[in-house]
């Protein structure tokens, strides 16, 4: 298998922490985006979006600190001792992760402003979401060539992903409310556009990383990407079923629709968790075929 780094316990821990960081960042970014787009949503639903974004932002800050320790341990080869070694932590701070941490930390702190109702709080938290998206363009595979294009693709991919992932829990709440149908229907219409952007940006980025059809098969990066795409396809199937079948059923007063829709959204959340694990694997222990 080409382009797979050695895997030890610390590498697995790094993948799990990175995936948790993705989840926290996307939910934190998604909260303000949801509130901005659906200002007229039921108060209950907006409350879920706000509280979840704040919880995710705080979790994101904690995960960021944890990831510094994990990375120090990995580069030192000293295990736990290396995780708290000031010199190793300093080297990580001097690396792109240090720069990204400043942007991501600032962004996650700004997202806390989503709790302040009104334009100022919302604007600050949207700026926070943008800073978090930018932070991910400052590390890893997006530092390749063409630099500006890769950065834009990652940024757009994350914002579009955050809009979807951040909306799942609020929509789960809306599916249980009598007045939630209008919101669910509107989300379906807007998401058709944002999901297309999400996938287009992701596929373009992947194509730039792989460079040839052959690179998809026979490399660790390619296989991991295939695994990710399979789960994404399943997620799209769930989303399409929600939009075309379950939401209309809910609107027409079908008594089982609410339960079915809520179950379907919970399955979407599980699929998202798997996608984030695959993505963390992709960005942690595999080398893009163009670099092999």
């Amino acid at each position: 298998m080409d382009g797979l780094s050695p895997i030890d316990g610390w590498a697995l821990l790094a993948i799990l922490a990175k995936a948790a960081g993705y989840a926290a960042a996307l939910v934190a970014m998604g909260g303000p985006l949801f509130v901005a787009v659906f200002r007229s949503a039921p108060g209950d639903v907006l409350r879920v979006a706000r509280q979840l974004a704040v919880g995710a932002a705080i979790l994101g800050l904690a995960v960021l600190a944890l990831r510094f320790g994990i990375r120090s341990a990995r580069i030192s080869g000293m295990g736990f001792e290396g995780a708290v070694d000031p010199m190793m932590l300093g080297l990580v701070w001097d690396s792109p992760l240090g720069t990204a941490a400043l942007w991501r930390g600032a962004g996650e702190l700004l997202i806390l402003a989503v709790l302040i109702e009104g334009t100022i709080g919302l604007t600050a938290s949207l700026l926070g979401a943008l800073l978090v998206a930018v932070s991910y363009t400052l590390v890893g595979h997006s530092l390749g060539d063409p630099r500006w294009l890769l950065a834009v693709l990652v940024g757009v991919h994350l914002l579009a992903g955050a809009f979807w992932i951040g909306a799942l829990a609020p929509l789960h709440r809306a599916a249980g409310l009598t007045g939630g149908t209008v919101l669910l229907h509107r989300f379906g219409i807007i998401a058709s556009g944002t999901v297309a952007v999400l996938i287009l940006a992701g596929l373009t980025f992947a194509w730039l990383m792989i460079g040839s059809f052959g690179g998809l098969f026979g490399t660790a990066y390619g296989w991991t990407l295939i695994a990710k795409i399979i789960v994404v396809t399943g997620l799209l199937g769930l989303a399409a079923n929600n939009k075309l079948r379950l939401v209309p059923a809910l609107a027409s007063g079908d008594p089982t629709a609410s339960t079915n829709l809520r179950r379907s959204i919970r399955m979407e959340i599980i699929a998202v968790a798997l996608i984030l694990l695959a993505t963390a694997t992709l960005t942690s222990i595999t080398t893009p075929p163009v670099n092999l």
Binding site: I15, M78, P96, A220, T281, S284
Partner: protein
Amino acid sequence: MKQIILALAAILATAAAALAHSKAEDTTPAKEATVETVEVIELRFDDPMRVTAISLTGPDGEMEITRETGLDPVTEFRAMPPEDMPGGAYTVDWRGLSSDGHPMQGSFDFTVAD
């Protein structure tokens, strides 16, 4: 939850089952080479690499090596081996940070023949 754990196990098992293979960088002594003496230990990288840890394991366990290269990112890393290297199998293990921030690691073996 159960589905998540199962799928996670599947992803990780696939990754772990694959033979780990880091990018082949050029080294002195060359990988798998048999040499009579070791003047220097060198690692050459395509992109600047900050070598954060390096160790040499010989037939009698870990041995002291003296880094010539500091902790700056370099494309050529040098370290001096111990004066006395008995015949046998040796392994160099290194860890580093690549310029894009990825933690990297690798190792290579060589043999000293008396």
